[in-house]
């Protein structure tokens, strides 16, 4: 349906269609109404449309969230073999939209939009790597997640996953600028050094190539993918529920939030509602996970700059939260607690008591850390004024979460699009204006306090007893009692385990506030028991993409401090 035609669209999509009427490529774009208003555009028009969507006062889709490919080879009713799917957000209008760019099999190519949305650089590299899309005009189009000796494009449906590609030292791609080491600049001979991949300060395996002039970094490039475990490819061969343990291993510091984000996507596709108690338990444990994530981030960051004690104090919180998670589901790190339609098992009887105990103990440690850090001159010198990201830069680089909030943008998914019960709670979104490392520390400390506030209110309305799971047995395993003694339940049980949940064909982008920012899951179903395509929008991916630009002009030690406040979780970054 073209823009000119009259249609029965939802109000949001209709508004978008009207706005697009002013654009130069209006005749060649169409707006469809899916879970999000979806624009379909030809590859040639995409950069023009992107510029229009960003700059037009009626649109203002300024936050680039995600770009991913989809291979339609085994999907019915699709016109083209490939498509690129982009998700954008408008901070002023508080809206998400999707742009689909159909690409043909022979030449999957679409012009780059790195000049419009700097955040798209790494997303385009990823699509090039995994789908073989060409992005003419891209400044640095090399493989990102797979290594440089890899042959083929792993997420294409016709790629044989059993192949192994060996990587030898000589296959390592060294950027042109890094090869030449005797270039003279300023007083010192500049030199190129490698920080990482295995370096105590890189938090996971991340490789930073830096050209140094004395101690100042004049150019840098990051190289990731060392922890790439083919999450998205694995998801395509598993049932919807079986993806949950894999999702745990994305951001393994706050595994619970990943699980909640993933199952919410599937539940929305199915239209399943889970009981209040189940939602509240998820909320409480997600907020505890967020505290844990911030504890790890701040603790590790302070260790990097030489303050070991805080790390121990913050880890004691983490330890006690792990005890709570273990009492609920039996595992500490990779919890696998959520299921599509609810939880694996009801919480223990003393759940509320344990939570209240944690609400008592956590603030004490936070207060101790604040005493040690807030007015510490060394910490101030290392963190304040380093790694500065201005508001415009943060938006352009597609940052979300504490990174964006520390630069003064109060975008929090829990506030912008309240899910579960977040609109009922009384809590504040902490922001800071300086955008430096110290602001990020302050924002995270305050967020932990706000999380405690949310948990306290959630505990007040948590029903004492009641179901945590939906009673739709096409989605949730029937209770064991019924399975053992009742034939019909056993049949449902059997169908669910052997065939998986039948999710209606379609697509869905669902997003929640992860510990690092907007955690989005874009799922495509073809009606089978498992995902046809599952794309994660990892919140730390855009921050890491910007890292090589943030560190230029600072010293190596500033880069270490900055990397700490980005809160890079390699599992989520490399997937």
């Amino acid at each position: 349906m073209t823009v000119a035609e009259v249609s029965t669209l939802s109000p949001a999509a209709e508004k978008l269609r009207e706005r697009l009427g002013d654009s130069p490529m209006a005749a060649r774009t169409s707006v469809a109404d899916r879970d999000l208003p979806t624009i379909e555009v030809e590859p040639g028009d995409w950069p023009g449309l992107a510029r229009f969507l960003r700059d037009d006062p009626g649109c203002q889709y300024d936050l680039f969230l995600d770009l991913c490919g989809v291979d339609n080879l085994r999907r019915r009713g699709q016109k083209t073999r490939f498509e690129a799917v982009v998700h954008l957000h408008s901070l002023s209008k508080n809206e998400h939209i999707r742009v689909r760019v159909p690409l043909d099999a022979a030449n999957p190519s679409l012009p780059t939009v790195t000049d419009v949305y700097p955040a798209s650089e790494w997303f385009e590299r990823e699509a090039y790597d995994l789908y073989g899309f060409d992005f003419p005009g891209h400044p640095n189009l090399y493989r990102l997640l797979c290594h440089d000796a890899f042959v083929g494009h792993a997420l294409r449906k016709d790629y044989a996953p059993g192949q192994r590609w060996f990587f030898a030292e000589e296959d390592m791609r060294i950027p042109e600028w890094a090869k030449n080491t005797d270039e003279r600049a300023g007083h010192f001979e500049t030199q190129t050094i490698s920080i990482g991949p295995s370096h105590p300060a890189t938090h996971g395996i991340i490789h930073l190539m830096a050209r140094l002039d004395g101690e100042k970094i004049v150019r840098a490039e990051t190289n990731i993918g060392y922890l790439h475990r083919c999450f998205e490819k694995m998801a395509e061969t598993h049932h919807w529920n079986q993806v949950i343990p894999y999702a745990d291993r994305l951001n393994y510091v706050s595994a619970m939030i990943n699980g909640v984000g993933y199952v919410r996507t599937v539940e929305k596709m199915l239209g399943v509602e889970i009981p209040e108690r189940g939602q509240l338990v998820r909320t409480i444990l997600s907020e505890f996970s967020r505290i844990m994530d911030h504890c790890v981030c701040i603790g590790a960051n302070l260790v990097d700059i030489g303050a070991l004690t805080n790390f121990i104090y913050l880890y004691e919180n983490r330890e006690s939260i792990y005890d709570l998670l273990e009492a609920c589901c039996g595992a500490r790190l990779t919890v696998s607690y959520v299921r599509v339609g609810g939880l694996a098992i009801d919480v223990p009887d003393d759940f509320a008591v344990r939570c209240r105990g944690l609400l008592e103990s956590i603030p004490k440690f936070l207060a101790d850390v604040e005493k040690l850090v807030d007015n510490n001159r060394i910490v101030r010198n290392r963190l304040a004024g380093t790694g500065i990201v201005t508001k415009e830069q943060a938006i352009g680089w597609g940052m979300t979460g504490p990174m964006l909030r520390a630069s003064g943008v109060p975008y929090d998914v829990r506030r912008a699009r309240p899910y579960d019960f977040y609109d009922r709670f009384d809590w504040d979104v902490p922001i800071a204006n300086d955008g430096d490392n110290f602001s990020r520390y302050l924002v995270r400390m305050e967020e932990m306090r706000q999380s405690l506030k949310i948990i306290r209110q959630a505990l007040e309305i948590l029903p004492e007893k009641g179901p945590v799971n939906s009673d739709d047995w096409r989605v949730v395993l029937p209770p064991k009692d019924a399975v053992y003694h009742d034939m019909e339940s056993l049949i449902y049980h059997f169908k669910l385990v052997m065939e998986g949940i039948r999710v209606p064909a379609g697509e869905r982008y669902e997003w929640i506030e992860g510990a690092n920012g907007e955690l989005g899951f874009y799922a495509v179903s073809d009606g089978r028991g498992g995902p046809y395509r599952l794309k994660v929008r990892p919140p730390c991916f855009p921050s890491m993409a910007a890292f090589e630009k943030m560190v230029v002009g600072g010293t190596v030690s500033d880069a270490v401090a900055t990397l700490g406040t980005l809160n890079i979780i390699a599992g989520e970054l490399d997937r």
Binding site: L372, N375, R377, D428, V497
Partner: protein, 232 residues
């Protein structure tokens, strides 16, 4: 719902002269750390760190550790080789070969039931999937192997033993005492169905029975290395 708070003004932007002097701040910091030290000295038992392996952490009754295969009252395994756990396993670490049980009431049993503990992610999906209450988990998390073959646990090491349960205790399982669910009826206590009996007795009576499939032999997964294709 509430507002937005600016935390950059929460603490003064500039340090005071005393704070810049280091020494008072160091003393203030020392007060915090010393308080922790003294409190921990007074309460050595409440320390968050433990002296593993002499001291073991007390995990909850839901801990997801090593699996056990439950047995019936007559000592046979509850597992009926329905392949549900093998299908539910996200790590694909369970291998089952089914055989026909001599006693007709049990019908099927696993000839081979292997769990590759190096592949296992201890998610508990197998316990959730089992319709016969045949696989549970224990709180045993100390599994040490010297080779990859060692890590593939067969029935011998998975079958429940009283010593193991006494030592580690049950972990993740489908029902807990007192939570309103009841275990399935023990099949060994069921009345013997008319016509059922021992396989051999039936054969003697001339009733045709299908030959038992010996299965594809020992089921240790062949090494991945053999399948590796070197790039041209």
């Amino acid at each position: 719902m509430s507002g937005v708070i600016d935390v950059s003004r929460r603490i003064p932007e500039k340090l005071t002269f005393l704070q810049k002097l280091y020494i008072p701040e160091i003393l203030r910091g020392m007060a915090v750390t010393l308080r922790h030290l003294l409190r921990n000295l007074a309460n050595m038992r409440g320390l968050p760190t433990i002296l593993y392996p002499e001291q073991k952490r007390d995990y909850s009754g839901r801990f997801r550790g090593k699996h056990i295969l439950k047995t019936r009252e007559d000592g046979t395994m509850k597992c009926v080789a329905c392949f549900m756990c093998q299908q539910a396993c996200p790590a694909e670490c369970i291998t089952i070969v089914a055989g026909e049980h001599p006693k007709l009431a049990y019908e099927k049993y696993p000839v081979v039931f292997d769990i590759d503990m190096l592949r296992c992610v201890f998610c508990g999906f197998c316990v959730d999937a089992c319709p016969k209450d045949a696989i549970w988990m224990t709180r045993n998390y100390e599994m040490v192997f010297f080779s990859r073959e060692d890590a593939v646990f067969s029935i011998d090491r998975l079958r429940e033993t009283p010593e193991e349960v006494a030592r580690h205790g049950y972990g993740y399982r489908p029902y807990y005492p007192g939570d309103g669910t009841t275990p399935p009826t023990d099949a060994s206590l069921l009345p013997v169905l008319p016509g059922s009996g021992e396989r051999d007795r039936l054969r003697e009576e001339g009733i045709p029975l299908p030959e038992r499939d010996p299965g594809p032999g020992p089921l240790n997964a062949p090494s991945q290395a053999a399948k590796i294709v070197r790039s041209p």
